[in-house]
Symmetry: C2
Subunit: 295 residues, 2 copies
């Protein structure tokens, strides 16, 4: 049985006329007759009674008709469904991001993407870079915004650097400045209990690593919070915290003090598996994201 044969069968069923059916399906009449006959031979039953000028469905034809209609309709639905995915009218992207990026960079990008492709469902997952990398590898995320360098460098991942961010020290605006000058050094944080993120935040590891490089073990005034909570603790005067400058700038009740040169930076990258082509919608989101970066 072939889809063509079913199409021909439906054409004859509709017109009850071989010659006109052949025209409808843009084929010569003998070809259509042959294919109908081939179908009948395969099924072992005549589908039409060929009384001269009075073509009619046999009982076997009646039995086949509704199924043939459904089959052909399904093939059309199938191509259409796939086309909608291809044309980004439907679909889903699962995007992972670190919390600071989810609140800083993503809103504008996702707004733009959603305006362009309103049919695409966006699923955002917040987490530390290590968690995100694991989920990328397992296939439960399509894309992730992570912080370089990766501790667990997975060769199956492709990471494109997006932007360098300066880290700054934030303190309560109504407290005395954390240092004498306009900048601060890492060693100035010695003996100053920090407000620290929960485990899993890249910022935590980056900060701790920097302190150890400066020769001391940082102390924590309070730890375990998410980004919002940490900033709130700092505003309340519980201590300073090290955060990306982008986040700090949006809080009027925080005082921002940059590190002295060369300062502390982190590199944000967009990562995806390189062993499998991501879904079309994910590639498009990647493009839109990269497009937003220079701005």
């Amino acid at each position: 049985m072939q889809l063509q044969q079913l199409v021909y069968f439906l054409a004859v069923s509709d017109t009850l006329h071989f010659t006109r059916a052949a025209e409808r399906v843009h084929v010569a009449q003998p070809s259509l007759s042959q294919q109908i006959k081939a179908l009948e031979r395969e099924l072992g039953a005549n589908l039409f009674s060929r009384a001269r000028g009075n073509i009619a469905l046999t009982d076997a034809g009646e039995a086949l008709l509704p199924l043939a209609r459904r089959i052909i309709a399904d093939t059309e639905t199938a191509t259409q469904e796939v086309q909608e995915l291809v044309q980004l009218r439907r679909g889903r992207v699962r995007l992972g991001a670190t919390p600071s990026l989810a609140t800083g960079l993503l809103p504008d990008v996702l707004r733009d993407f959603h305006d362009r492709y309103p049919g695409i469902r966006l699923v955002v997952e917040e987490g530390g870079s290590r968690d995100l990398v694991r989920e990328l590898a397992s296939g439960s995320l399509d894309l992730a915004l992570i912080v370089l360098p990766l501790q667990s460098h997975d060769p199956a991942l492709d990471a494109t650097p997006l932007l360098h961010e300066d880290l700054v020290v934030v303190t309560a605006a109504d407290a005395p400045p954390p240092s004498a000058g306009p900048t601060i050094s890492v060693s100035d944080l010695r003996d100053r209990p920090l407000v620290m993120f929960r485990n899993g935040y890249d910022l935590r590891e980056l900060t701790v690593t920097a302190c150890r490089a400066a020769g001391f073990e940082p102390r924590f005034a309070i730890e375990g919070g998410e980004m919002d909570a940490v900033l709130g603790f700092v505003e309340a005067g519980l201590g300073p915290a090290v955060v990306p400058s982008m986040v700090a700038g949006r809080r009027p009740r925080l005082r921002t003090t940059p590190f002295e040169a060369p300062g502390l930076q982190r590199t944000v990258a967009l990562a995806h598996r390189k062993d499998a082509e991501p879904p079309r919608a994910a590639r498009e989101l990647r493009r839109v994201l990269l497009e937003h970066v220079p701005a």
Copy 2:
């Protein structure tokens, strides 16, 4: 899109392994790869992500999968449905018969047919030959047992003679014999009021025609009855009747007197339209009927 391609697609979806999928569908691996690729090209989207040793469905593949399953299932259902019809597991035969044949010949035949094909619905329609012929022509009957010759000889009908029946005169067993000898002639019925069937019975027309051929118009003691009623009236002594010998033989309270040579006969035939092949079940009933005739 081709059904084969969908079958191959399902095989790969199930096994997630091109080589094993190829084995399952009994085709060489390159052929399967080619067909999958052709399908992908036609749809404009990859269906599988070919990560080494980790074949997986893409989003397009996920979208296609349920429809492909349904399409293939439908094709199997379709062949099966038609096979059931072909094998006479389901179906219907609409059979017309004159009343005498419906009570005389049909019970045994239909019993036999129904035992062989319990799934076939039998619809019996009783009526005069002319009515039956009209219904055959209009397509509301598949087969009909009629009496030859046909008044309205329809060239679109094919009538196969089944059997010749002798007509006899029946009288009440406890009444004096209708004639002096062992036989009777048509003219002996002159002035003997007959028990006569209702209009529409071929027997009525046959009897009246025979009387007129013998030079007289028959008189009726009572008329309008069906076969059973007519025989009952005769048993009650209301008068003689002309009936097929087959019917007369089963009533002990009736005396049967054959006509003198050449007697009266009627020819029963099985008719069907010859411009369209009858349904399979009807052809089979025809076969069974013809098989019963010699007995």
